[in-house]
């Protein structure tokens, strides 16, 4: 029995946060769905999407759609990598198999910042421009965490029991 979950993420002053991420954990190990992956396109000297959420073990490709070359790097402990000056689509996508936050930067373009949030669950969602994220969960016991860019660690873990459609309010 699936239930609709709506999570509203706000900052301390009650303002809704856009592109914040919420992830729910059911305590069971869920295998990565086959072919699960993502693309983070560099276009107009921006990472698009700026915030990418993936399940652990997902492959992400970094196609460069700009005419200039980029040097994408990450010093984050969750995944340290470096795609030295390239253009076009790199031959191999990168596998992100450790949960955590990876901050993406371009060594050429200091203004380019992107984030990859790697979670150990298939249940996650990003807030829209009203700070709302929606997902479908089966009824049961869950714990959840919220995160927003700039935060080096996810917010406090909360426990929740889902029984039908539920609305969750999270303050970061």
């Amino acid at each position: 029995m699936a239930a609709d979950i709506t999570a509203t993420i706000m900052d301390a002053s009650g303002k809704p946060i856009v592109d914040a991420v919420v992830a729910f954990y059911d305590g069971k190990t869920t295998a990565l769905p086959a072919g699960a992956g993502a693309r983070i396109v560099q276009k107009n000297k921006l990472f698009n999407p700026r915030i990418t959420v993936v399940q652990t073990g997902s492959k992400i490709n970094f196609p460069n759609e700009d005419t200039v070359r980029h040097h994408v790097y990450s010093f984050s402990p969750a995944k340290k990598f470096e795609l030295k000056l390239y253009s076009g689509v790199p031959t191999d996508p990168l596998v992100f198999d450790q949960a955590g936050v990876v901050t993406l930067g371009c060594n050429i373009h200091d203004s380019m910042v992107g984030y990859i949030y790697i979670v150990d669950t298939p249940f996650f969602a990003k807030t829209d421009d009203k700070g709302k994220a929606t997902l479908k969960l089966s009824n049961g016991q869950y714990s959840y965490q919220a995160w927003q860019p700039g935060q080096t660690k996810p917010g406090a873990e909360q426990k929740i029991t889902i029984e039908g459609a539920t609305e969750v309010k999270i303050t970061l």
Partner: protein
């Protein structure tokens, strides 16, 4: 008010005062303005300096920041930071710190309070407040402010830049020491001295570094403390006689800590520049004033020079120098003044010359006057005193000048005087000799370097000249002179004495009828002798030492004897015969004259009475003196005498001189009128020698006029004398007076007088004065043989004249000296 000796000084002073005042009026505000300007410049300099300083710091900060940013952006460094490789981070910081000359460098991680710094600053950086300080620095820096801080007691400028990967993962902080290097750098750009002063909780205010000298910087520390307390930013401080403007700016302030930068601008350079300008101004002013002073002096001198010249000329005039004519060079007021001075000088000169002429010249003769003569002698005596030579003063008098003047006219008299003057002048001995007219008819001659022999030779020469009648206005007139001579040094040491003595000698010459007389002391009658004579005279009257002499008088026409003039003689028991002129003047003065007159009147009455007894009807004339004419009792006394001797008033004649009438005219007139009323016959004696006019005499009840002998004696040789006698006779007759001529010395004159209508006469030709008994004999003889010259023996043969001079004038005349 200042008194000026010269107008030009006044002009110069006034103008210079004004000029100096104007200059001062300009200079004083200028000085004030320059001082103010210097301060303004100094202030401006310090303000500019401050801006430069701020901009320098900003620039420094910017470049340091950029340098630090280079490190922060370094991929390898970021990788080291991202991987928390502390050793690598530290060594990177160390090497970079050295490269950009920072003294402090450290990295602060924002994730896990990781702080990595260079070894030197470990203590400070890892102190309890390290985190807070660092965070604060970060915040401040992000707001774009300059960040200064005191780390471990030392001031630093802190530069903080973020390390991005690409999010900010930490901060690099670079610290640059605030030290002498920075101060020098600031000074180089601002030209201001710079000092950094700080205060920490551990230390009070202290100087970190400064470009100014140590003493000044130390002074600043104290000042700054005060200024900081009062929250002022601008201040002025005086040090070593120099003014400094201070600009204080706080670089860091936190709690008890403070770091200040003090910019010091000295006013001195500006003051020096401006005071140089001011000095130049003063110099220019001085030069200007000097030039102006010279100009004013020159102009005022040019203006007043002619005045000064005129003053000088006026001084010359004042000193009596009139000869120099004042040059008139201009047509302005000065020229007018010069002209006026010239006219004045001319007028004064003329007046002075005239006064001199009047003062020293005799206008009539052109000769010197008495004053000039006395001065001339005085001058001459000075040279003679040196040379010890003799000098003669000769006084010459013209006999009978008054009647000549009166009868022949003043013009005639004037011409005569001029003539005599010329004669005297022509005969002087040397060119320095001097001829002067002393009085109406009295001349004086000074002969220099002459002894007595030369002086008398001159006198003789004059006499020789005057032996010939003088021709004046076509008329010959006989000039008779009296001459008195005195000699320097024999008769006097000064001009007064010489002139007085010469005049005494002249009197003697006149009296003695001597052509000339040289003064000798015997001419002065000794005062003591005079006193003796006076007392003797009293005795003489009582002891009958006086004698009555009679000089006969005849009718000129019929030659009949009429009587005589009673004269007095004193036979002194010791001195022998004494002439009236030696005792009558003193008798007059002492009043004894009254006794003498009484004696004379008595004796005359006795003699007349005696003749009456013999049947001789003759008259006797007695002389009355001045004192007698003032004796109101005289008429009564005479009346008594006459009646006691049985005589009528006609027998006695009374002779009075003009002079005796003049003493007290009113009283004399009373007495005379009384006597006339008694029927007494009154005669004016010596007419022609006095000053009275016939008009005056007419008022008096006189019947007779006696012409002075000096006119009669030479009338046979001298036409002038004859004219005088003739006109006197005519005038007297017109007034109804009988005329008696004295001094008939020859028959020719007697006949001449008869022709002129003269009534009576007396003189040596008729008879000399003789004693009473001889007169009887003379009468008999004269009546018997008219033509025979009667020699009755001159009484002078036994006269003992103290002067031993032959008496030519009738010595018996009582009033001769009146």
């Amino acid at each position: 008010m200042i008194q000026f000796k010269h107008i030009r000084s006044r002009i110069a002073f006034t103008f210079l005062t004004v000029v100096v005042a104007i200059q001062l009026a300009g200079l004083i505000p200028l000085k004030y303005a320059l001082d103010k300007h210097a301060n303004q410049l100094a202030e401006e300099q310090i303000n500019v300096g401050e801006r430069v300083f701020v901009s320098l710091l900003q620039h420094n900060t910017q470049s340091l920041k950029q340098a630090t940013q280079v490190l922060a952006a370094d991929f390898a460094f970021r990788e080291a930071v991202a991987t928390n490789d502390a050793e690598t981070i530290e060594s990177a910081l160390e090497s970079y710190q050295g490269r950009i000359h920072a003294q402090v460098a450290y990295y602060i991680s924002n994730r896990d309070d990781l702080v990595i710094g260079t070894a030197d600053n470990q203590t400070a950086l890892f102190g309890p407040n390290a985190k807070v300080d660092a965070m604060q620095a970060i915040v401040d820096n992000q707001s774009g402010m300059l960040k200064f801080d005191i780390v471990d007691g030392k001031p630093y400028q802190l530069i903080t830049v973020p390390v991005k990967a690409p999010d900010v993962i930490g901060w690099i902080v670079m610290g640059f020491a605030v030290d002498g290097r920075l101060a020098s750098q600031i000074k180089q750009l601002t030209h201001l001295d710079v000092a950094f002063v700080q205060k920490t909780p551990q230390h009070d205010w202290q100087l970190i570094s400064g470009t100014a000298d140590h003493a000044l910087s130390n002074l600043l520390v104290k000042t700054v403390a005060d200024v900081y307390r009062q929250k002022m930013s601008l201040h002025r401080v005086d040090f070593n006689d120099q003014s400094y403007h201070l600009k204080i700016r706080s670089l860091h302030q936190a709690g008890d800590e403070a770091l200040l930068v003090v910019l010091q601008g000295s006013v001195e350079p500006f003051i020096q520049d401006l005071s140089l300008l001011f000095k130049s101004m003063i110099l220019l002013t001085l030069v200007g004033v000097c030039i102006l002073a010279a100009l004013i002096w020159y102009v005022s001198r040019k203006t007043t020079e002619p005045i000064a010249a005129l003053v000088k000329e006026a001084d010359y005039i004042a000193m009596g120098d009139y000869d120099k004519e004042i040059q008139v060079n201009s047509i302005d007021e000065i020229g007018h003044l010069a002209k006026a001075l010239n006219s004045m000088r001319e007028a004064v000169l003329q007046r002075t010359l005239r006064i001199q002429r009047l003062a020293f010249n005799d206008e009539l003769t052109g000769l010197s006057n008495r004053l000039a003569f006395i001065q001339g002698v005085h001058q001459a005596l000075l040279t003679h005193a040196e040379s010890k030579q003799k000098l003669s003063v000769i006084v010459i008098n013209i006999h009978r000048f008054k009647p000549i003047n009166q009868t022949l006219g003043r013009d005639f008299g004037d011409d005569l005087l001029r003539h005599v003057g010329q004669v005297l002048k022509q005969n002087v001995l040397g060119e320095h000799d001097m001829v002067a007219r002393l009085d109406a008819d009295e001349f004086a001659v000074m002969l220099q370097h002459t002894d007595q022999a030369q002086a008398t030779r001159y006198a003789d020469k004059l006499l020789h000249v005057f032996e010939q009648p003088v021709s004046v206005q076509g008329q010959a007139i006989d000039v008779r002179t009296g001459i008195g001579i005195s000699l320097y040094p024999d008769h006097g040491m000064n001009e007064e004495a010489l002139l007085n003595h010469a005049e005494t000698a002249l009197q003697e010459s006149k009296a003695k009828k001597s052509p000339w007389i040289v003064y000798n002391t015997a001419l002065e009658i000794d005062q003591s002798e005079t006193l003796t004579l006076i007392s003797d005279l009293k005795e003489a009257i009582q002891q009958d030492q006086l004698l009555l002499y009679i000089q006969p008088k005849i009718d000129v026409k019929t030659r009949r004897a009429l009587g005589g003039e009673a004269l007095i003689r004193w036979v002194h028991p010791e001195k022998g015969m004494i002439f009236p002129d030696q005792f009558i003047p003193f008798a007059e003065q002492t009043g004894i004259i009254s006794d003498i007159t009484n004696w004379m009147l008595l004796r005359a009455c006795q003699v007349l009475a005696g003749f009456r007894k013999q049947g001789l009807d003759i008259t006797l004339a007695v002389n009355l003196s001045t004192r007698d004419l003032n004796n109101m009792e005289l008429p009564e006394q005479i009346a008594h005498l006459l009646s006691s001797h049985g005589l009528d008033a006609k027998a006695l004649k009374l002779e009075i001189t003009e002079g005796s009438l003049m003493q007290d005219p009113e009283r004399a007139e009373l007495v005379v009128k009384k006597l006339a009323a008694m029927g007494l016959h009154l005669a004016i004696d010596d007419f022609g020698t006095g000053y009275s006019s016939l008009a005056y005499l007419r008022q008096l009840p006189v019947q007779e006029l006696k012409i002075d002998r000096s006119f009669v004696m030479f009338m046979d040789k001298n036409s002038g004398d004859a004219s005088i006698v003739k006109s006197t006779i005519d005038l007297a007759h017109n007034l109804g007076l009988i005329v008696v001529a004295e001094g008939i010395e020859n028959e020719f004159v007697l006949n001449q007088l008869a022709r002129l209508g003269c009534n009576e006469g007396q003189g040596y030709f008729i008879g000399k004065p003789m004693p009473e008994k001889d007169f009887s004999v003379w009468l008999q003889r004269w009546e018997g043989q008219n033509e025979i010259d009667i020699d009755i023996g001159d009484d002078l043969s036994y006269a003992i004249n103290p002067l031993d001079v032959e008496v030519q004038k009738d010595p018996f005349k009582l009033d001769y000296l009146n």
